[in-house]
């Protein structure tokens, strides 16, 4: 016997089913992330058994000192930084794509990563501190200030009248080229030692992770996420087109500026800690969009989980590929990410972008 429902009520049932399915997908992503972090923590140049690592995680006081240091002070910060950085970059990319109505928008393609690299290189090659009060943190602070400057330049220009979304994208691409040229110039004049430092930094790496960096990235996320969440319906509406969103009562211009500002912060902070990890900001949002659609109530957490999962899994790979060595994660994200991404896009033949 079939249940008795009128035809007009049927779509609401189907919609409830869709919502349930999406919540399930989010839960699945979260479980995979936890799993990936666990594997990430148990892998490393020092060979410990998974059971030993788990025991150290659960009760650190019972473990021997060396193990406690390796697990809690080296591996855990790296694993957690992969999570916060992956989530931040992916969320930043997701919202850039949303507000700029362009599938290619990301912290990387809009020049923020290039600006950060240039800032870092200024410190490593010339010893220039843009914020002289903290010499020891010269590299990340330089990188952050440069990335923020690039973001604010884009932000400032987009407040001008008559500047369209396309202009912003073109400007971002121009920034990528300018900063890359400036970086190449620095590299040309750099000493051998400084050059290798710059090259290593631009490859992107999680190996310099500390609990402090994890905390800073987590705080930035915790500040930005509620602000995006409050604008979830309006941000989703923007994807229907500017005119239509405006017709629904969305203050498109103001929303775009607010989001662009949050996105700048969200992208600049992690980039200044880990260097260039280019791919997450594009792949994370696209994975989330394919799995969950663009209703921001699901897309927002989905993009964060997808980004965190991808970077965490990449971190695992970067340790597992060459036993005893940790490859720079920026290399792995692109090498492994591109084929995966191409497969995903080509098999799921949806026409949203």
């Amino acid at each position: 016997m079939t249940s008795i429902t009128s035809d007009t009520a049927a779509p609401a049932f189907a919609y409830r089913g869709l919502v349930t399915r999406r919540i399930f997908i989010l839960a699945l992503l979260a479980c995979l992330l936890i799993l990936s972090v666990a594997v990430d923590v148990s892998l490393g140049p020092a060979r410990y058994s998974v059971a030993d690592v788990l025991r150290t995680l659960v009760s650190p006081t019972d473990a021997d000192v060396q193990m406690r240091v390796v697990v809690w002070d080296i591996r855990m910060p790296m694993a957690m930084l992969a999570v916060t950085v992956g989530a931040s970059l992916s969320l930043a990319g997701a919202q850039m794509q949303t507000i700029l109505a362009n599938p290619l928008a990301s912290p990387f393609t809009l020049g923020l990563s290039a600006a950060a690299s240039f800032g870092a290189a200024l410190a490593m090659v010339l010893g220039v501190a843009l914020f002289p009060a903290a010499i020891s943190l010269m590299v990340p602070i330089n990188a952050f200030l440069m990335a923020m400057a690039a973001a604010l330049l884009i932000f400032g220009l987009s407040t001008l009248r008559g500047v369209t979304v396309e202009t912003i994208i073109l400007l971002g691409i121009a920034l990528v080229f300018s900063f890359n040229a400036a970086l190449a110039l620095l590299q040309y004049f750099a000493s051998e030692q400084a050059l290798s430092a710059v090259v290593f930094w631009t490859m992107g790496s999680l190996t310099k992770a500390t609990w402090g960096k994890v905390a800073v990235t987590a705080v930035v996320l915790a500040l930005c996420v509620p602000l995006f969440a409050r604008r979830a319906w309006a941000l989703t509406a923007i994807r229907l087109g500017e005119a239509r969103a405006a017709a629904m009562g969305v203050p498109v211009r103001r929303l775009r500026l607010e989001a662009l500002f949050l996105v700048s912060l969200l992208a600049a902070v992690p980039v200044s800690f880990v260097g260039t990890i280019g791919f997450i900001g594009i792949v994370g949002p696209h994975v989330a969009r394919l799995l969950l659609g663009e209703d921001q109530r699901f897309f927002l957490p989905g993009a964060m989980l997808a980004g965190a999962l991808i970077l965490s899994a990449t971190s695992v790979l970067s340790k597992a590929l060459l036993p005893g060595a940790v490859l720079p994660i920026g290399i792995i994200t692109a090498l492994v990410g591109v084929p995966f991404f191409a497969a995903l896009i080509l098999t799921k033949g949806r026409k949203a972008w």
């Binding site: 779509p11 869709l18 319906w233 309006a234 239509r244 017709a247 629904m248 009562g249 659609g293 209703d295």
Partner: protein, 256 residues
């Protein structure tokens, strides 16, 4: 009963004045009002000015409805987001406020909007998969779901086949009749205008030339003035008014 009245409305893009002194008598709700005029006459501009998306001279007087009871449906149909039809209509409903949760009454409102326009079967389809005509009907559903009291629609039937045009205009007429809403539709097909709208606003030469009962406004003289076309308005064998085009008028219309 809702009424809308325009008093000396003006609008300009930079130095270019598109509209000046656009004035109408009170336009009553409950039936459809057509807005006619040549390309670039300023129909969309007038809508945007009424909807408050543009500033300019003059006043829009509303009675029986608040300013946020007004919905303007723009012409573009560029909806390529990864959303289902159902989600896109929820979205329109949720812009007024409210949290992440959906109430039963909100879901009912979405169901009703789908049923009213005959697109219940499209509910689970992704927007990018829809045809241009289907998107247009979806965007009408997005407009109606908030049950607005004043509706401005920019060419709501431009992408629809003959049957769909008829069906959508019927749906809009019945919405107007039951809600008493003022509904102004920018339309190009004058025969459609004569069939469905009680009132017509003629826009040309940078202002509103006439507002009144459709057949009193759409005279051959006014059609020549608006479009530069010679025509006759005649009655068919069943008594319906219809326009027959004879050809371009000798004196070309003045560029606006």
């Amino acid at each position: 009963m809702v009424t809308l009245q325009l008093e000396n409305l003006g609008a300009r893009y930079g130095r270019h004045e598109v509209l000046s002194k656009a004035t109408t008598p009170p336009i009553r709700g409950g039936s459809l009002t057509a807005l006619v005029g040549a390309n670039a006459a300023g129909k969309s501009t007038l809508f945007r000015r009424i909807a408050g998306q543009m500033r300019g001279a003059g006043t829009v007087r509303l009675s029986g409805a608040a300013a946020d009871d007004l919905r303007y449906m723009p012409q573009d149909t560029g909806m390529n987001a990864a959303l289902t039809v159902y989600e896109s209509i929820i979205l329109a409903l949720k812009q007024g406020g409210g949290g992440w949760r959906l109430s039963a009454s909100e879901l009912t409102a979405v169901n009703d909007a789908l049923a009213r326009l005959g697109i219940t079967a499209l509910a689970e389809r992704q927007l990018p998969e829809l045809s241009g005509g289907q998107r247009q009907v979806v965007s009408i559903a997005q407009t109606l779901v908030t049950r607005p009291r004043v509706i401005l629609m920019d060419e709501p039937t431009s992408a629809l086949d003959l049957y769909r045009q008829y069906e959508v205009l019927e749906a809009l007429q019945s919405y107007a009749a039951e809600s008493g809403a003022v509904m102004i539709l920018a339309l190009h097909d004058l025969n459609q205008v004569m069939r469905c709208s009680a009132t017509t606003i003629a826009l040309g030469e940078g202002s509103i030339l006439a507002t009144g009962p459709t057949l009193e406004v759409l005279t051959p003289a006014m059609i020549r003035r608006l479009y530069g076309i010679n025509s006759r308005v005649e009655r068919c064998s069943r008594g319906c008014a219809m326009m027959i085009v004879d050809g371009p008028a000798e004196s070309k219309r003045v560029a606006v």
